[in-house]
């Protein structure tokens, strides 16, 4: 009996190892593709034509929608920073989604808002009652829509889409810090290929620890907290390189709600963000793929690796755990809603490669990872596994993960190299090892719990997130302006945050 159990355990662990190898090899392939794409972008930088884009009267105007809930700490700074983006014509549509703090009052006093008679079309359904539309008296291109909250960021974004006047709608977070040229770069695919491009997304990076001056990251640094440092590497590997790789093979399924651009007419045709969707950003992109594939219409959904949206990442386990559970549940929700696409040749590589990958490696990954870990531990406890072999087994499985992080670091170093200090590079290398021991397993546990919540269809505690905020201090070197250093927790309030 003991031999049978040992054989089964051994076979299962071999399966888990094989699973890890396939997963990591797949990911390594994506990272290599991303590296090729980044080289492609870099080689073309000199003749990319951003100046022409900036000066052209034909560059499409953009409405940047900022769903905001209880963002009084930074909403004014955020909107002012958005207004100073380098782009020929755009407006900022802030949707105050039932804030219970002074978000609206801050905006009203900072921008001298006056109420406009409501004139927005009902192009996409909005569940929360619209309370009014406000604009600055001095004509600055800001629109503030006040609405009752329905507990969904997608619903707030839909209200913003209705109020948006321009053909491209960008959705971003109220606390996002965008690079000055980010709009120009993320809109360029719409100009280069206006017939086919229907959505683009930009890179999201962790702003914790960086120096922010007048709403711009002027000095990127590694955060002080280890948890945030781990997320820096994660974001680099998954958001920058993973998504760039997917985009290279036309398989981008997720555009971050923190920084995504969409053709308004397509979004309207799809009915906007789906109310009740947890991963509303991925859900919208999946529906875009579905619509275009079913119509057999050529299209492009592109990830642009260069424009950066800096966002604050959680620095406490509780908040991070909640965020990751929500992401896992969101993914399950999207895959379940669009299950018809999975493995369906009608949807091309999205149906045949991308969605199956998400099911097998992203959705079921934590189940297999934690099962493998548990059985190995049981085998060790009951003496069914050789400790030496088990140690080697773990070292190989985790070592491949470390290798992926280091490859990501190398590509970052050879391309964007945002973290200039040697110390930050050293920290990043240490984090590449450390994240695989402890954090990775904890992350799998959070994802498993998210999946379980999805299976049980439990209501999500989705609104409550810790608002850390950009602590501001006067810059002694410069007269007047404000320097912000993203660090330290200050308060907890419900807010809309995305991945």
């Amino acid at each position: 009996m003991r031999d049978v159990v040992a054989t089964v355990l051994h076979a299962f662990d071999t399966f888990v190892l094989g699973y890890f190898l396939v997963l990591n090899t797949f990911y390594l392939g994506l990272i290599v593709l991303a590296g090729a794409e980044i080289v492609h972008v870099f080689r073309r930088h000199r003749f990319a034509g951003y100046e022409d884009l900036f000066t052209s009267p034909l560059t499409p105007a953009v409405s940047l929608v900022l769903p905001a809930r209880n963002e009084e700490v930074m909403i004014v700074e955020s909107v002012e920073a958005m207004l100073s983006l380098r782009y020929p014509e755009f407006e900022v549509v802030v949707v105050d989604d039932g804030s219970t703090d002074g978000t609206f009052e801050c905006l009203r006093s900072a921008f001298d808002l006056v109420e406009l008679p409501s004139a927005a079309p009902d192009d996409v359904p909005v569940v929360g009652l619209i309370l009014g539309t406000w604009v600055p008296r001095d004509g600055r291109p800001v629109v503030v829509v006040r609405k009752e909250s329905s507990g969904s960021k997608g619903d707030a974004a839909n209200a913003g889409i209705n109020a948006a006047r321009h053909p491209i709608v960008g959705v971003t977070d109220a606390d996002a810090v965008l690079d000055e040229e980010s709009l120009l770069r993320v809109v360029k695919p719409f100009v280069d290929d206006p017939r086919r491009t229907i959505a683009t997304g930009g890179t999201v990076r962790a702003a914790n620890g960086s120096t922010i001056h007048r709403g711009r990251v002027i000095d990127a640094r590694m955060p002080r907290s280890w948890l945030a440092r781990i997320q820096v590497i994660e974001y680099l590997r998954s958001f920058l390189l993973g998504r760039t790789g997917w985009s290279r093979i036309s398989g981008l399924l997720i555009i971050s709600g923190a920084f995504g651009m969409f053709r308004r007419d397509i979004v309207v045709e799809l009915g906007g963000f789906r109310h009740g969707a947890i991963g509303e950003d991925a859900d919208l992109v999946a529906r875009m793929h579905r619509l275009m594939r079913e119509r057999r219409q050529p299209y492009r959904i592109e990830f642009v690796s260069e424009p950066v949206c800096w966002t604050e990442v959680p620095e406490s386990l509780a908040v991070l755990g909640r965020q990751r559970r929500r992401w896992a549940r969101g993914l399950a929700d999207v895959l379940w809603t669009h299950r018809r696409m999975i493995g369906n040749p009608r949807y091309g590589r999205i149906g045949l490669v991308v969605m199956p990958y998400y099911v097998v490696f992203e959705l079921l990954g934590p189940v297999i990872e934690l099962l493998g870990l548990s059985t190995a531990l049981l085998g060790l406890v009951f003496g069914l596994l050789d400790p030496g072999f088990a140690a080697l087994f773990f070292a190989v499985a985790l070592g491949y993960g470390v290798l992926l992080s280091i490859v990501s670091l190398l590509i970052e170093e050879l391309s964007y190299h945002r973290y200039e200090r040697w110390r930050d590079l050293g920290t990043a290398i240490v984090v590449s090892f450390v994240e695989n021991i402890g954090f990775r397993q904890l992350h799998a546990w959070w994802r498993l719990r998210g999946l379980w919540q999805a299976v049980r269809n439990r209501q999500l505690d989705w609104g409550v997130m810790t608002r850390t905020g950009f602590l501001t201090e006067q810059d002694p070197a410069v007269d007047g302006p404000v320097i912000a250093d993203v660090t330290g927790a200050t308060e907890t309030r419900p807010s809309h945050r995305t991945r």
């Binding site: 008679p117 008296r137 006047r165 072999f389 040697w422």
Partner: protein
């Protein structure tokens, strides 16, 4: 080989790969920092020489050193300055680039294999704007890479040569095409000398070319093209009609008034743009027509009509105020347009929108 041996070997390979990657990362950073330092040092020495040439175009350029690196950096710096300076300073810089053989080298590179080399050479030739670069650049318009074609189009536009209008226009519906917005911008750069060719293109057999020609003439405010554009309001193709209406609004010539009013009643497809164009004309005679549009069912038409009324002078505002007691979407839009006008907010720009009306 036993399981333990396989694992041990795998681990050893992983460790070796990790070590190699870490070394590459560190060496890569060291090399990059060294390269940057050198480049900055050279740039600091080079910049005063270039600025001196721009300040005294008749003077002679004295580069602080010689060699490939200096020449490359001079080319990069020159490209930056060419985008910023005009007149004699610009000519001096182009002359210097030509004298150093940079332009000839770029002309050679345009014909070579490889998209990146061709495109970067085309960018340089476009910035220099020498007439002799026309033929090498025209050769890029059929290149298989869309990117090379786009850069070629932009570069040709900068030459300001009317002979390039026809080949540029032909690109919008060629098998290897270039987006209409890119071509339109290049045609705008060609300037007024290209207007006759654009007017001829309004009678082209291609509806897409007619649309782009109309759009460009509108952006150039080509008053002499008004009669031709009025004819295009009755074009068979909706896109060409829409662009002609938008162009007439931009030009703002009163001769367009009657045809635009007529097109409102006959053509649903260009109602929004025509309503907006009437606002651009600002003719008080358009008030009653625009007020009628406020009763329409389409939100975009009602919005355009309400916003245009605010630009038709006091008569438009009076009419708009009267309309605020009406029911329906028109009432809401009238109130909103009035409020926006009183706040000095700009109306929605509808006609220059290649996303809403993709020509290609």
């Amino acid at each position: 080989m036993s399981g333990v041996q396989v694992m041990t070997w795998s681990l050893a390979i992983l460790a070796a790969a990790m070590t190699a990657l870490l070394v590459m990362t560190a060496v890569g950073r060291l090399l990059r920092l060294r390269r940057r330092r050198r480049r900055e040092h050279l740039r600091d020495k080079l910049r005063p020489a270039v600025v001196a040439l721009l300040a005294e175009p008749d003077g002679e350029l004295q580069l602080p050193s010689t060699g490939r690196r200096t020449e490359d950096l001079f080319e990069v710096l020159s490209l930056d300055y060419l985008a910023k300076v005009r007149g004699e300073s610009r000519e001096a810089l182009v002359r210097e680039l030509d004298a150093r053989g940079t332009v000839v080298a770029a002309e050679r590179r345009v014909g070579r294999w490889g998209g990146v080399g061709r495109a970067s050479a085309a960018e340089l030739l476009g910035r220099c704007g020498l007439p002799r670069s026309r033929d090498p650049l025209l050769g890029l318009l059929t290149h298989r890479s869309a990117e090379v074609r786009r850069v070629g189009v932009r570069a040709l536009g900068r030459l300001g040569d009317p002979e390039t209008v026809a080949p540029l226009l032909a690109l919008v519906d060629a098998k290897r095409s270039v987006p209409a917005a890119t071509v339109t911008q290049a045609l705008m750069r060609v300037g007024a000398v290209g207007a006759p060719a654009l007017r001829s293109a309004l009678r082209s057999g291609s509806p897409v070319q007619r649309a782009v020609a109309a759009e460009t003439l509108g952006l150039q405010r080509a008053v002499e093209a008004v009669p031709d554009l009025v004819v295009n309001l009755d074009d068979d193709n909706a896109e060409a009609r829409v662009r002609a209406a938008g162009a007439l609004g931009r030009i703002g010539d009163p001769r367009a008034f009657e045809p635009l009013v007529r097109s409102l009643n006959t053509d649903v497809s260009l109602r929004v743009v025509a309503a907006h164009a009437l606002g651009d004309l600002g003719d008080p005679n358009a008030v009653s027509t625009l007020v009628d549009l406020l009763d329409g069912a389409r939100h975009d038409v009602v919005t355009a009509a309400a916003e245009s009324l605010t630009r038709c002078g006091p008569d438009g505002l009076v009419a708009l105020r009267r309309c605020t007691d009406r029911g329906g979407d028109g009432f809401r839009q009238a109130r909103a347009a009035l409020a926006r006008f009183e706040l000095g907010r700009s109306p929605t720009n509808v006609e220059a929108d290649y996303i809403q009306f993709p020509v290609t």
